[in-house]
């Protein structure tokens, strides 16, 4: 059972709600173990604040095993912190050094307003999915699963796109706050599968329209989203989405 000996300075964004201004506030935490996750370090901070009679820092988190996509801290200028391919909850304190100062901010994007402290509202993502991120099949309509063979390469590619956890790191890191990586991952997953073909072009048009109306920016191909994505979602998905979006314009009205 390791008790730690790291002492850290935290600069944490505090903001009461979306109507008030926020600011960075300094905190010290001591005796941090390198085996703690970043969020467990925040648990220590919050316990300390509660014991002092102050309000703890609000942050989103749930599964703490890197899959639910709820945690969302912007750490030292990078979404989910300094390590590639991990979420904040899977970032461990051994990635930091004793004496470090760590700046922690919420995701910043017009489409993701701050709810409180480090928690933001990502419901725009749900609305983009509701606009077309599905295959229109009611329960009970399915044929036998193996009546539709799908080449393994294609199925694997669809799976890789489907690995997106909807955390929003791509938006947070993008200088344009573009959601193209997120949106294109869902579009690709379904465009790569035979089940997704009937609605393929209609889907890309309605999801892109919803994405634009939510206030996300455009893509200028800097690739920060791919670099920061904790699940390694590829930029190729954006290219695929753009191709489908362009193709949709040339396809007859009935098909779209």
């Amino acid at each position: 059972m390791s008790t730690g000996n790291m002492n850290l300075t935290l600069k944490v964004w505090r903001q009461k709600n979306n109507k008030t201004a926020g600011a960075l506030v300094d905190y010290k935490v001591t005796d941090i173990s390198p085996d703690m996750s970043f969020l467990e370090m925040f648990d220590v901070l919050n316990e300390q604040l509660i014991n002092k009679g102050e309000e703890p820092v609000v942050f989103d988190h749930d599964c703490r095993e890197g899959i639910c996509g709820m945690c969302s801290m912007f750490i030292n200028g990078r979404p989910h912190g300094p390590k590639d391919l991990v979420t904040t909850c899977q970032l461990h304190m051994r990635s930091f050094k004793d004496g470090d100062t760590i700046v922690v901010e919420p995701w910043r994007a017009a489409a993701f307003p701050v709810v409180k402290d480090l928690a933001v509202d990502r419901s725009a993502f749900d609305r983009v999915i509701a606009a077309g991120g599905f295959i229109s099949v009611n329960t009970g309509n399915a044929q036998d699963a193996n009546s539709l063979p799908i080449p393994k390469m294609q199925a694997d590619a669809a799976f890789e796109a489907a690995a997106c956890i909807g955390c929003g790191a791509c938006v947070a890191t993008c200088k344009n706050a573009s959601a193209m990586l997120f949106v294109s991952a869902k579009i690709s997953q379904l465009a790569l599968l035979p089940q997704g073909q009937p609605e393929r072009y209609r889907r890309v048009q309605s999801m892109v329209a919803q994405m634009d109306s939510e206030g996300f920016g455009n893509c200028t191909n800097t690739g920060a989203c791919e670099a920061e994505c904790p699940k390694g979602i590829s930029l190729e998905n954006i290219a695929r989405m753009n191709r489908d979006f362009a193709s949709a314009k040339f396809i007859s009205e009935e098909t779209v």
Binding site: T3, E40, D62, E65, M70, D126, Q195
Partner: protein, 659 residues
């Protein structure tokens, strides 16, 4: 001896569900439009039910406490989902899935429910593939399967180590489609705090908007709870931090019986605790037991590196004790065997509370196959390990990465250290065959109910049950109730029952805020967890349980005297949310101990030290305990036992053997 009616249809087991479906009353489409259903929870069981009910034409409101329905903890399920497809031509059938589940549950589940589950299991796979869920495939383009514990066939469908994620995103997309069409109203960041009952029937809920703190009243002709399990009563578990029992517990306090609360599943393969700071435990999927061999050193306190311990000085204790099933024995058996070895002094790692899960033998075997495919029939060891590692990486890459990230060790080079941890709860709200609780109009689906897994759930069966309930069972069975409710107009929420329920919820929130004590919510939660783990965990005894009940009662009193909840109730206040949940966990913890104390036998996940065979296996008492213990909440915090007798007409009840 039953004093409650499970409403199991008459007739032969294999025909019950078919007959039920063809004869259950229907609600015509124009009536469906004016019938409202509330679904609480958006995991596999909630999202699939909400989507399907909306597709059928009902007006649906769905609630989740997370910021999006896609975050529900079903998403974290790793290994797979069972279905009796027999795609592997290995002799699988509906009956075998039924049989394995009843046996795996140590003969403490209801035959009719489990058979129905096995029947609809195949529809789930079809439905998910139609939705575009990218399940793993073979090169021929057909679906792949793997093995899970407690079975001798390969019936588990999967999507790498992210099966739950992919299935949940399928259900989520079906739900979002209905939201987009205006057929489901979604309430995210809302927590249900009370069930509203009018004339004895569930007619709505009180929910707290977690951002504004406002309490809201919502009417429904029926209410469905798909709110997950209560494993977080142990503080440390593989559940998400927010997973809680509150919705189910509030329903319990409104008259819904709570069944078999002591049946908790301790999963054998989790990453061991690393320190006091630990906030949750991480599972390493059961699917790893396909390819990993579990062992401890034969010598006590052997401090050598695992890779330095030669083959003949290792004790592959599962293979030794259970030659027929080996590393694939059910979870309860594997967990107890690990505890037995560690308690006897053979544990490994700094805490000595861990065993090894070793992939070396299978890595080498896979490497040999790969080399042979490439024409090299006599590969050296290094080639085998290199090629085999690539195979292992494709199968379990994300799990290995997760292990490395959490422990700082490389599992491709050194065996994983694992130890059992709380993972799933088989107990839950009592439901009849229709998934209705003992409160008319209040339904319960998925892990939140008790119905299908008996005293121990088999791997890859939780996803199956959640989706079976939500897609294929509840949407039919709820018709039996709603068809009689078509003349009921929406009840205005200024009805006294809503006013009273809201006042009650507000009273609890105000009390919690006003205690202004000295200790944090987590402080109490951790203490509760320790009591539960020590005395109501992997093994239980009469004396320990009696002590635990006293300790929990004292803890409850202290909590209500000394908890500190900063902030106010009219804002986003995560400490207030946690406080309400921990208050409910404390009451539940007591009931779990009472139930464990009542059950003078060992079965599945419930192991009473007094009741074991000479070899240390669970010893059931079918004469006295072949019943579902359904507890009714009574004023104060008291509980009255009701019994539902379990009748086994199609399976011969036997001592479970995996030897």
């Amino acid at each position: 001896m039953s004093d409650i009616n499970s409403n199991i249809p008459e007739g032969e087991l294999t025909q019950k569900w078919t007959k039920f479906k063809s004869s259950v009353a229907l609600v015509n489409p124009s009536n469906k439009r004016s019938i409202e259903v509330i679904v609480v929870g958006s995991g596999l069981a909630g999202a699939s039910a909400a989507a399907t009910l909306a597709e059928m034409g009902y007006k649906v409101k769905c609630f989740c406490f997370q910021d999006s329905p896609r975050r529900a903890h079903s998403i974290a399920a790793q290994g797979g989902i069972n279905a009796a497809k027999n795609y592997q031509n290995d002799g699988d059938s509906t009956y075998r899935l039924f049989y394995d589940t009843i046996k795996g549950g140590d003969y403490r589940a209801r035959e009719a429910n489990v058979h129905r589950l096995a029947e609809v299991s195949t529809n789930i796979i079809d439905q998910c593939v139609a939705q575009g869920v990218p399940l793993a495939r073979e090169y021929g383009g057909l679906l792949d399967n793997r093995s899970f514990g407690g079975t001798q066939v390969q019936r588990t469908f999967y999507a790498a180590g992210q099966t739950g994620q992919q299935l949940l995103l399928g259900a989520y997309s079906a739900l979002e489609r209905q939201i987009g069409m205006g057929k489901v109203e979604m309430y995210t960041r809302h927590e249900m705090l009370e069930v509203v009952k009018i004339d004895g029937k569930a007619r709505g809920i009180i929910a707290r908007n977690l951002i504004t703190g406002q309490l809201e009243r919502h009417f429904g002709h029926a209410v469905v709870l798909g709110t997950g399990g209560y494993g977080n009563v142990f503080y440390l578990s593989t559940n998400a931090m927010g997973s809680n029992v509150t919705a189910a517990w509030k329903a319990h306090k409104q008259g819904a019986y709570f069944a078999n609360p002591c049946y908790t599943q301790i999963h054998p393969t989790c990453i061991p605790v690393s320190g006091d700071h630990q906030s949750k435990l991480t599972l390493m999927s059961e699917s790893l037991r396909n390819d990993g061999r579990i062992w401890v050193p034969k010598k006590k306190d052997d401090n050598r590196k695992p890779t330095d311990i030669p083959e003949d000085e290792r004790d592959y204790y599962l293979e030794r004790r259970y030659p027929a099933f080996g590393n694939l024995v059910p979870r309860d058996v594997a967990s107890r065997a690990a505890k037995e070895r560690c308690d006897a002094g053979y544990g490994v790692g700094a805490s000595k509370l861990a065993v090894y899960l070793d992939f070396k033998a299978n890595t080498e075997r896979y490497g040999k196959i790969e080399a042979s495919k490439a024409g090299n029939h006599n590969p050296d060891k290094e080639t085998c390990m290199r090629l085999g590692t690539a195979v292992i990486k494709e199968k379990y890459g994300n799990l290995f990465d997760m292990y490395a990230q959490i422990t700082g060790e490389n599992p491709y080079e050194t065996p994983m250290r694992i130890y059992p941890a709380v993972h799933y709860t088989m107990g839950g709200l009592w439901v009849d065959y229709n998934l209705m609780t003992s409160v008319p109009g209040l339904y319960c689906t998925g892990e939140a109910n008790f119905s299908d897994h008996g005293a121990n759930r088999l791997g890859a069966s939780a996803l199956m049950q959640g989706l079976a309930d939500g897609y294929f069972v509840l949407p039919y069975t709820i018709g039996a109730y709603l068809s009689k409710e078509i003349s009921v107009k929406a009840i205005p929420t200024d009805h006294p029952a809503f006013v009273e329920a809201e006042a009650k919820a507000k009273g609890i929130l105000d009390t919690l805020i006003n205690i202004k004590g000295t200790k944090s919510v987590d402080h109490f939660h951790k203490r509760l967890g320790l009591i539960m783990w020590d005395k109501c965990g992997m093994s239980r005894s009469e004396q320990g349980l009696k002590q635990a009940i006293e300790e929990i009662r004292a803890l409850r009193a202290e909590f209500w005297r000394d908890v500190r909840v900063p902030g106010t109730s009219d804002e986003l206040n995560t400490e207030l949310e946690k406080a309400g949940r921990v208050a409910d966990f404390i009451e539940l913890g007591e009931l779990m101990c009472i139930d464990a104390l009542n059950r003078n036998e060992s079965c599945g996940g419930h192991f009473r030290e007094e009741y074991q065979t000479e070899e240390g296996e669970a010893l059931r008492d079918d004469v006295n305990y072949a019943y579902v213990a359904a507890w009714e909440f009574k004023e104060g915090v008291n509980f009255e036992l009701h019994k539902e007798e379990l009748k086994f007409e199609n399976i011969k009840v036997a001592q479970r053997s995996y030897k």
